[in-house]
């Protein structure tokens, strides 16, 4: 059994520690907010200029002037603050944000990350991704382990243009959790029922495997 989107998000929520300031990317990362334990106090940062991002509004609370970086309508909390994009990225670049959780197209064993374009075919980014991975203290990637065509996304060297060089700390996929170490990928955890061979066969790089908690 593999982790679905919700399970990946729930696992990623375990990365959040009490008191953290956290930036969530678009897609699966956005779901992470739903799985933060009640006894953990976290302040969500949105790079378009808000700290203390609240839940989605009730229908009669929707405000076009109050959105997150994914352009979704959100709400403010009692301790929220608003600021300019320059101040927002001072927080990011200046190392004031504890954790960024974002998606990826490819991650290399040295922590290189590619998530913004496919040459000649597709350009979505860059947005704030390059600043986030350069400045935030800890970078966690959440993504499916392979592409829709079954090709590895975790590899020795990224083929796609980089978002950041040597920036990723941890990767949470639908089948496992891996850390980027000085010696390459290290297996930390397996999704329930997933075999180590499934991870090694679908990863285009060596994986360090020592004693892990097989769930």
């Amino acid at each position: 059994m593999v982790w679905d989107r919700s399970a990946i998000a729930a696992r990623a929520a375990m990365e959040i520690q009490d008191g953290y300031y956290v930036n969530l990317g678009i897609g699966i990362p956005t779901l992470v907010a739903n799985y933060v334990p009640a006894d953990i106090h976290v302040t969500f940062h949105s790079e378009n200029g808000m700290l203390g991002v609240g839940p989605f509004p009730y229908d009669d609370q929707v405000d076009p002037d109050l959105i997150n970086a994914g352009k979704q309508t959100v709400t403010e909390l009692a301790t929220s603050s608003y600021f300019s994009s320059a101040d927002s990225f001072a927080m990011i670049r200046g190392g004031h944000i504890d954790l960024a959780i974002l998606g990826a197209m490819q991650v290399a064993e040295n922590g290189d990350l590619a998530n913004w374009m496919i040459p000649g075919k597709m350009v979505k980014g860059i947005g704030g991704a390059m600043d986030l991975v350069a400045g935030v203290k800890r970078v966690v990637v959440v993504m499916n382990h392979v592409t829709r065509d079954g090709k590895p996304k975790l590899m020795r060297k990224c083929e796609l243009p980089l978002t950041g060089a040597g920036v990723v700390d941890r990767i949470i996929t639908d089948i496992c959790v891996l850390d980027v170490t000085n010696d390459g990928f290290r297996l930390i955890e397996l999704a329930p029922g997933v075999d180590v061979s499934e991870v090694t066969e679908n990863t285009d790089a060596e994986i360090l495997i020592d004693a892990i908690a097989e769930l």
């Binding site: 002037d65 320059a86 704030g128 600043d131 950041g164």
Partner: protein
């Protein structure tokens, strides 16, 4: 004291637009864009525009082929060069970039914000770690500080900045609302001429001097007006019924 307050977008922009000019446009997605200014510049069909903006307007997710903001300038072929951080789901922008009918310089969002802040503050350039080791750093000077690679990025100014504020007074002091602030405060400082589209122009004395976001020195012209606000993704939750 010259009168900064104009009747509407047409009056505020009347004598300052020209083909080939550079324009900074505030906003993040549809949030905090100076939409009446954008509509007026489109009506005038000013061409060969060099724009600086986080994104370039957008296309409605549920209405393919329809868009808002600077997207309407793309649609009319008014833009020749763009400095932006994000393309996203803007297919017209992506296509014009891939077909090379538009000269696009992608700048990381924080770098873009800081380049505009620097331009408005008289700073020629700065070193940032953002983009080191990526294509963004190609052709740029790099330098090591404390064992880390930094990239030299340059400040940006423009012939005109169009910004959207919530409240303003006749001196041009501005206050923004919630996340509609985004790029507007830096852009207000970096336009040779800055035109502010303001929801409410209030009497002198009504704004608290301690709460001003953009002091009036940065704003040459303002007018009161508000286009219909656009919501790109209306996300809501249900009230518990118990």
């Amino acid at each position: 004291m010259p009168n900064k307050v104009h009747a509407d977008a047409r009056a505020a922009l009347e004598d300052i637009l020209f083909d080939g000019m550079s324009i900074m446009a505030g906003g993040f997605g549809a949030c905090g864009i100076a939409d009446l200014c954008i509509q007026e510049i489109r009506r005038r069909q000013i061409r060969d525009l060099k724009i600086i903006s986080n994104n370039c307007g957008g296309e409605y997710v549920d209405r393919p082929g329809e868009g808002f903001g600077l997207w309407t300038w793309l649609q009319d072929g008014l833009i020749s060069r763009a400095v932006c951080s994000y393309i996203g789901t803007n297919k017209t922008f992506e296509q014009q970039h891939l077909n090379k009918t538009i000269d696009l310089e992608l700048s990381p969002q924080g770098t873009l914000a800081e380049r505009i802040r620097a331009g408005g503050a008289g700073i020629g350039g700065f070193y940032t770690p953002t983009g080191a080791g990526t294509v963004i750093a190609e052709g740029k000077e790099t330098r090591e500080f404390d064992g880390r690679q930094y990239v030299l990025e340059t400040g940006i100014t423009a012939d005109l900045a169009i910004v959207k504020a919530w409240k303003g007074d006749p001196a041009g002091n501005l206050i923004y609302r919630k996340t509609a602030r985004n790029f507007n405060p830096m852009m207000a400082t970096a336009g040779k001429i800055t035109v502010a589209e303001v929801e409410h122009i209030v009497e002198p004395g009504e704004l608290n001097p301690d709460g001003i976001h953009t002091p009036g020195v940065f704003v040459q012209r303002l007018f009161q007006g508000q286009a219909e606000k656009i919501i790109e993704q209306r996300t809501t939750r249900q009230r518990d019924l118990d």
